[in-house]
């Protein structure tokens, strides 16, 4: 049977790309080819942006409450297709079905929050700023925005932006990840079902050429991005040069600090989930486990953590007995293996070796790794500093909380940091002092809900306003101040 070629969605129509270049989309668990993704042309991108630009004037003038109703319809369609959507994510990405269902739910929550736009887009006013003169601020849309999506949350991440943008009255173009474009294609089938006017939302598959096209096109008002730090930095610089707004959420190396009084047995599930959920391919994943305390505390924490990691079942995410799927492709696995070898060469001790595959079922091993735990990791080692984005935990030690916070600050990233403790003073000090955009207290995966901004500091974020919540509404709108006097 011929493999399905994915189409672009431009101006309310599904269209074949004219490109000759296609990328095979494979199920990383089983190696089967699922579809072919076109590397679309610059002309196709231009036509998508033109469609969005043409749709903008009418869409902007559509009342906010009417715009929100399209989102209500989208929620209905997403709920009806909840399981199907989740299965697509597991097949193209590899994550477990529970993780995919969680991603689908998070995506729906974004649309739910965005549909509150008649409230969240409101301005403010003050009567009598001077005698008989009033002043008010109104928020207005700007035009065409875009999203360059990552492979790790292919369905959810564009929903951090798209529903908010169109709710605000902007129009939108998405470039899905060319590694995981199928769930976004499924989302656009649902957007099509809502009856949105042509051109309000558009999708163009492709790679760097399309992404650069967003940054260069004169009609593009802003770019949103989630991915690696080098690319985020490039986008930030490029958008600065071309005068575009930008939200660029980037890489991470997240610490989880375990204090001596932590409820370690209760915390273990949370820790294991943070480090090894989504096979470590979350920008909020725990990467460095930093244990504060004496040798006895250290041994107790690390032995329990390693045993829990060793017990994780690994295999095809559609198998309900599986707790961790593969990494997304074979290149990712090779990259992770190299980083592990570098860690060993630097002197870290690999006490749980996930290179020894133990899989549920007879599966090709190209993309699989079991959980790994490194001990004797010191702050200057690459294992502590560099983003691995795989199921590898680095364990470090600190004498007290001050030293722990210093170590957290030694990495260039500031996406998230968490502390496990029963001591309110320590928790407060950590929350106050740590330089990280998302802070957890006895929480392993510090994922902000749709109605809060998704934080990020240092090399984990480039921009001013963040995705989600009120921040992203401000990002997609411009404030206009009006002063009135009537004679």
């Amino acid at each position: 049977m011929a493999v399905k070629r994915l189409q672009n969605y431009i101006n309310g129509e599904w269209v074949d790309s004219t490109t000759q270049e296609f990328v095979e989309i494979k199920n990383p668990a089983r190696g089967e080819v699922l579809s072919e993704c076109p590397m679309s042309t610059k002309a196709e991108l231009d036509s998508a942006i033109q469609a969005a630009q043409d749709a903008y004037p009418d869409w902007r003038n559509t009342p906010a409450v009417a715009r929100a109703r399209y989102l209500h319809r989208l929620i209905e369609v997403m709920e009806e297709n909840f399981n199907e959507l989740s299965i697509v994510q597991t097949r193209e990405h590899g994550k477990t079905i529970d993780e995919s269902r969680g991603e689908t739910r998070r995506g729906i929550e974004m649309v739910e929050v965005a549909s509150g736009i008649p409230t969240t887009m409101q301005g403010f006013n003050l009567e009598d700023i001077a005698h008989g003169i009033d002043e008010y601020a109104i928020y207005q849309p700007l035009g065409v925005f875009s999203c360059i999506a990552p492979f790790n949350f292919p369905f959810m991440v564009p929903l951090w932006f798209l529903p908010f943008a169109i709710a605000c009255g902007d129009t939108f173009v998405v470039k899905p990840s060319p590694r995981t474009p199928m769930s976004q294609t499924k989302l656009f089938e649902m957007l099509d079902d809502t009856g949105l006017p042509p051109g309000v939302v558009n999708m163009v598959h492709g790679g760097a050429e399309i992404a650069n096209g967003f940054m260069e096109h004169p009609d593009m008002k802003g770019v949103t991005f989630v991915g690696s730090t080098p690319v985020a930095r490039h986008i930030y610089q490029k958008c600065g040069e071309t005068g575009k707004r930008v939200i660029a959420q980037a890489g991470a190396k997240n610490f989880i600090v375990i204090m001596p009084d932590a409820e370690i047995d209760k915390a273990m599930v949370s820790l294991v989930s943070s480090f090894f959920g989504n096979a470590g391919q979350r920008c909020l994943a725990g990467a460095n486990l930093l244990v504060v305390g004496d040798d006895k505390t250290y041994r107790n924490v690390v032995d329990k953590f390693r045993n829990a990691a060793a017990a994780i079942t690994v295999g095809d995410g559609l198998d309900e007995s599986v707790q961790m799927g593969p990494v997304q492709n074979a290149e990712s696995k090779q990259r992770i293996l190299k980083m592990m070898e570098k860690g060993i060469a630097e002197g870290a001790k690999l006490t749980l070796d996930g290179r020894n595959l133990k899989l549920v079922g007879d599966l090709p091993g190209d993309c699989f790794l079991n959980p790994s735990v490194f001990e004797n990791v010191t702050p200057e080692m690459s294992l502590a500093q560099d983003e691995i984005f795989g199921p590898v935990a680095s364990v470090l030690r600190a004498g007290d909380l001050d030293e722990a916070i210093d170590i957290v600050h030694s990495v260039p990233f500031g996406n998230s940091a968490a502390i496990f403790t029963n001591n309110g003073k320590w928790a407060r000090q950590f929350q106050h002092d740590v330089i990280a955009g998302n802070v957890g207290i006895n929480v392993g995966i510090v994922a902000p809900m749709a109605f809060f901004p998704f934080g990020g500091m240092k090399d984990s974020f480039f921009g001013i306003l963040h995705g989600q919540g009120q921040d992203v509404v401000r990002f997609f709108t411009e404030c206009k101040v009006v002063i009135t006097r009537w004679f």
Partner: protein, 138 residues
């Protein structure tokens, strides 16, 4: 079979509620004088399944950590017969066994997932309690 993920627990809930509902539907045919009771239980079991699924899909983002929580939950511990025996006392006994097994499953699953998410263990306990209240007519 070990149930070590939330998805596996959900599938097992569907299986036991469907099997027990079907058992009561057969009982209703075999014992017409108790038809109303058996059919009401069957209907309630299917409602339990729907409620559990609705809750699961509603709070699935909270359940991610529970992917690693279900240590010690095994389907073998909660297996039950669904053939309808020939006589009423044996049927009553079987119904009692089914209810006890399902109740034990919900209570254990609630215990293992407690502290990770509020809604699902609360519903599991509620279903267990409702089963406790069931009494066959004399």
């Amino acid at each position: 079979m070990k149930l070590n993920t939330m998805a596996a627990v959900m599938s097992f809930v569907s299986r036991i509620e469907d099997a027990s509902a079907t058992f009561y539907e057969k009982c209703a045919v075999q014992y017409p004088d108790m038809k109303d009771t058996f059919l009401s239980w069957s209907k309630e079991n299917r409602k339990f399944e729907k409620n559990v699924k609705r809750t699961y899909f509603g709070v699935i983002t909270d359940t991610l950590e529970s992917n690693y929580a279900f240590e010690g939950l095994d389907t073998d511990d909660y297996a039950f017969e669904t053939d309808v025996p020939e006589d009423a006392p044996k049927t009553g006994k079987r119904a009692h066994e089914i209810e006890e097994k399902i109740k034990a499953f919900y209570l254990k699953a609630a215990e293992l997932s407690e502290g990770l998410m509020a809604d699902i263990p609360r519903l599991f306990k509620k279903i267990a309690k409702k089963r406790e209240e069931r009494r066959l007519p004399a």
